[in-house]
Amino acid sequence: MSEEILDMLKAAGLDVLACMHCGTCTGSCPSGRHTSLNTRRILRDARKNRDAVLSDDSLWLCTTCYTCQERCPRQIPITDALLEIRRLAVRKGFMLPEHRKVSELVLNYGHAVPLDEETKKKREELGLDPLPETVRKYPDALRDVQTLLRACKFEELLAEK
């Protein structure tokens, strides 16, 4: 997939070619200060179509605060590009176990954070219906959501590759 990453960015209208490697992005990154994320390097790898960027765990350490994008002196859509790279990574099967887990919850319960027994109890104590007005309460609606997600091939996306 020699040209794939750059082509995909281009197709999404994201031009990263003009990067002058000033490091404003990395220097501004609140996550990179504490983690292995180097924003500039992610974009450099993408620009060179290096597959390694897709399996790079630090790709998932961006909090999408957009500070880098706001400050980039060449106005490169850094955060947007990073999100696009994540999309490709997932399509290629690179996904952190935590994210896979959360996605499975969405698929099974319609929620990334399903209602647990304790919350149900608290709701009852407050005189509320233990189940809120969401798909959790209406199995038909949950089935609709699942149909929708399957139609979008969400399941295939989650499958281990």
């Binding site: 002058m20 490091g23 404003t24 706001e70 400050r71």
Partner: protein, 784 residues
């Protein structure tokens, strides 16, 4: 008639795309064409000689040159034609490079066809060309120099020493510009004022220079050779001829402390002050905003120089040429919020450091950390603050700041050898004589260089600035605490020069600095005749380059005014009295007041006519001719264009010489492609476009007409494009009323710098015309 047609290969610039031999063959078949040739390089000596020989041998009466833009070589070929004994105005140039080969490289066949159309149009016009002769008029030898920085000073002294009278106008209370504020200057580490002050004094004492400081140009009218200039001298409330410059006496008694604008916020002075110790003239001034009028200075002044009632003074004079050396202003560092300038006391600008390093400056040459008033133990320089930064709208490199930071780091290191100094850079730009060596010397002195733009600054609990950045060579995000952080602020166009820019109708580049007539070949000529640019007015540059430009601008002005007379362009308007009905329309249209009515006939002051052609387009009787752009000449071009109608949609475009035609040239130079469907006719101004031209084009079968001029407020004839727009708006309604789609007439107001936009507009227009269909489609629909 015997016409010679020449097709230039321009090496491969034209011949690489266009089939020049086919073009030559087709041209040879045209009516009245006695001879057609294709030549490798027409502008070369042999190319020129060939034309001269042909004219003589074949008794050619007209010459059509199909080559580059007439803006580049029209003068060259006029001289060639003249050398052969033909009137120089019997030449017509056809632009098949900028408008053809350079923009239609992907479609050689259509490019060749279009080039042939353009040649047919040129030949058609050539048949109607008339002999013209230029007249000469007296020109003032006085040169106005606007701005008394180092570039202006160099220009003024060059001119004055050669014997030209010079009037220098400086808005500040002293000349010397930014250079007078600096400590040492790279790459020699000369004391700045030591090398500049003698020149400043010379300006003041020179018998050929009249100097107005604390003054501004408030109006310029007229044109090259005789600009009428008005200057307003602001009151200093101190009499210049009486003040002895002994500032200690008056300033010592003044009770009001103010910030000296020359010190960029460092230190204080009094409300009556000398801007810098080496001020020229050596005259103090009173800040009227801050003065409380206590009268103490008046009592203290032994020379009776204080005059609280001083009024602004108006001065008027004539100048033959104008040198614009208005300099630059520094980027306002507080706009980069992430650096906290103005909030964190120990974050300062390079200019503030410069003032502190200056031994005659506010700290007497000591570098003091603002919060502690102690010398710094560690200093960080941050480069590219307000340069190479689209987030603040300054895409360009300010070019000087790298060397300035190197220099100031050397200065700090020399005075405080213990201080740790780091320069944070994106790229070190040390391209100049002895600059790279200077960079290396700085490194050897122990100054550290870290590659990576500083992302942000915060203040730690001790109140010290902490910088955050990525060391890009080590791929590491880092933090560092310093005593002092110096922001290397970039250069911006001077706001104060906006007025003179408007008065002279100077155009600006996308970076907002004044544009020269040609970005490469004419670096100190403004696009306006008789106006020259020097120094940072046309972009950031270091002192040595500014001085070189000052000298170059002076020499250009000498060349222009040396003879004391100017050859007037013969291409102005003139009246055919038999046709004129004395309706006064032209008198109202000419905002320059060059037309009057005498004996019920319009009379034009032809020598001072600017030649826009607005009057000619407005005349209901066709009684005003624009030499070289006469109705019958333009109509012949239009008919030649539409009679071929070699493709569909077919667009006839009228472009003004100054902005839109120049923009099309730039589009070519930048190789930005656009559809081949457009055939351009050059006018001096969009105001010249007679509605009849548009109708003739549509009648002939053009599917669309484009009328393009300068951006509003940027017309080289000031009002021309406003008139053109009004005219085209009315015409569009007329077109609508006869049942044609109004969109077939399009206007475009564009600067000479907007190549991309020019290309997009043509693309869009062609697409729109494709949707509407061939001309007349809508009429059939209507009748059906």
């Amino acid at each position: 008639m015997r016409i010679g047609v020449y097709v230039c290969h321009c090496g491969l610039n034209i011949a690489g795309v266009i089939d020049v031999s086919a073009l030559q063959e087709m041209a040879a078949e045209l009516e009245d064409v006695a001879l057609a040739r294709d030549v490798q390089f027409l502008c070369s000596d042999s190319g020129q000689e060939g034309i001269i020989q042909d004219i003589k041998d074949n008794k050619l009466e007209r010459v059509v040159v199909a080559a580059c833009s007439p803006r580049l070589h029209e003068k060259t070929f006029r001289r060639v034609v003249e050398k052969a004994g033909l009137n120089p105005y019997l030449l017509e140039m056809v632009n098949i490079r900028e408008q053809c080969s350079w923009v239609h490289a992907s479609d050689p066949q259509m490019a060749t066809q279009k080039a042939f159309d353009l040649i047919r149009m040129g030949v058609a016009k050539a048949k109607y060309l008339k002999e013209l002769s230029s007249t000469s008029s007296e020109a003032s030898k006085n040169v106005l120099v606007v701005g008394g920085g180092v570039a202006g000073i160099e220009a003024a002294l060059n001119l004055a020493d050669t014997g030209f009278p010079v009037t220098m106008v400086e808005k500040e209370s002293t000349i010397g510009g930014k250079m007078a504020l600096m400590n040492e200057v790279f790459p020699t580490n000369d004391c700045s004022i030591c090398v500049l002050a003698p020149k400043m004094t010379e300006v003041q004492n020179h018998p050929n220079i009249t100097l107005y400081t604390y003054s501004e140009v408030t109006d310029v009218s007229g044109s090259v050779g005789k600009f009428q200039v008005k200057v307003t001298k602001k009151p200093r409330f101190v009499l210049e001829d009486k003040c002895k410059g002994c500032v200690d006496l008056c300033s010592a008694v003044c009770p009001v402390e103010i910030e000296n604008p020359m010190n960029y916020g460092i230190g204080k002075t009094r409300a009556i002050y000398m801007p810098i110790p080496q001020s020229v003239p050596q005259v103090v001034l009173i800040d009227p905003e801050k003065c409380v009028g206590c009268g103490l200075c008046e009592q203290a002044c032994p020379a009776e120089a204080i005059d609280y009632a001083q009024e602004p003074e108006e001065i008027e004079f004539e100048a033959g040429a104008i040198i614009v050396s208005t300099g630059y202003q520094l980027f306002d560092a507080s706009r980069k919020k992430e650096y906290g300038f103005g909030k964190y006391p120990d974050v300062i600008t390079n200019m503030q450091l410069e003032r502190m390093l200056n031994s005659a400056g506010p700290t007497g040459g000591r570098v003091l950390v603002p919060s502690s008033q102690e010398p710094p133990k560690s200093v960080a320089f941050i480069q590219c603050v307000g340069s190479r930064d689209k987030t603040v709208g300054n895409e360009y490199c300010s070019r000087v700041c790298c060397m300035a930071a190197l220099k100031n780091s050397q200065m700090v290191k020399e005075r405080y050898p213990e201080a740790e100094i780091t320069i944070h850079y994106i790229d070190i730009r040390a391209a100049g004589e002895m600059y790279e060596e200077y960079y290396e010397r700085t490194q050897r002195m122990g100054v550290d260089f870290i590659r990576g733009k500083v992302a942000e600054i915060y203040q730690n609990k001790e109140g010290k600035p902490v910088i955050r950045y990525e060391n890009t060579l080590e791929c590491r995000a880092e933090e560092e605490t310093h005593d002092l952080v110096v922001l290397s602020t970039g250069y911006e166009p001077s706001k104060a020069a906006e007025g003179i820019g408007r008065m002279l109708n100077l155009s600006r580049r996308p970076d907002r600095f004044f544009a020269s007539a040609h970005p490469k070949m004419r670096p100190v000529d403004a696009p306006v005749s008789g106006v020259f640019l020097a120094g940072c007015a046309s972009g950031p540059k270091e002192i040595q380059v500014s001085i070189a430009q000052g000298g170059a601008a002076a020499s250009k002005a000498m060349q222009l005014l040396g003879k004391g007379e100017l050859e007037a362009d013969p291409m102005g308007a003139h009246v055919v009295p038999e046709k004129c009905i004395g309706c006064r329309t032209c008198v109202d249209v000419c905002k320059f007041g060059k037309i009057r009515i005498e004996d019920k006939k319009a009379v034009i002051d032809e020598v001072s006519c600017y030649g826009c052609g607005d009057c000619s387009a407005a005349c209901p009787e066709g009684a005003i001719l624009m030499r070289n752009f006469e109705n019958e000449q333009v109509l012949a071009q239009i008919r030649a264009a539409t009679s071929g109608k070699s493709q569909s949609p077919f667009v006839v475009a009228f472009l003004c010489n100054w902005c839109s035609y120049a923009c099309a040239d730039l589009t070519g130079m930048s190789r930005i492609p656009y559809p081949t469907n457009i055939r351009v006719i050059r006018m001096m101004c969009s105001a010249r476009v007679n509605p009849e031209f548009v109708l003739e084009a549509l009648k002939g079968g053009a599917d669309g007409v484009l009328v393009a001029g300068c951006r509003m407020d940027e017309c080289h004839y000031i009002y021309g494009n406003f008139d053109a727009e009004k005219r085209m708006d009315v015409l569009r309604e007329v077109i609508g009323e006869v049942g044609l789609d109004r969109k077939r007439l399009r206007t475009l107001w564009i600067s000479a710098a907007e190549g991309e936009r020019f290309s997009n507009t043509i693309t869009e227009f062609v697409r729109e015309l494709e949707e509407i269909g061939p001309i007349g489609t809508e009429l059939k629909e209507g009748s059906a």
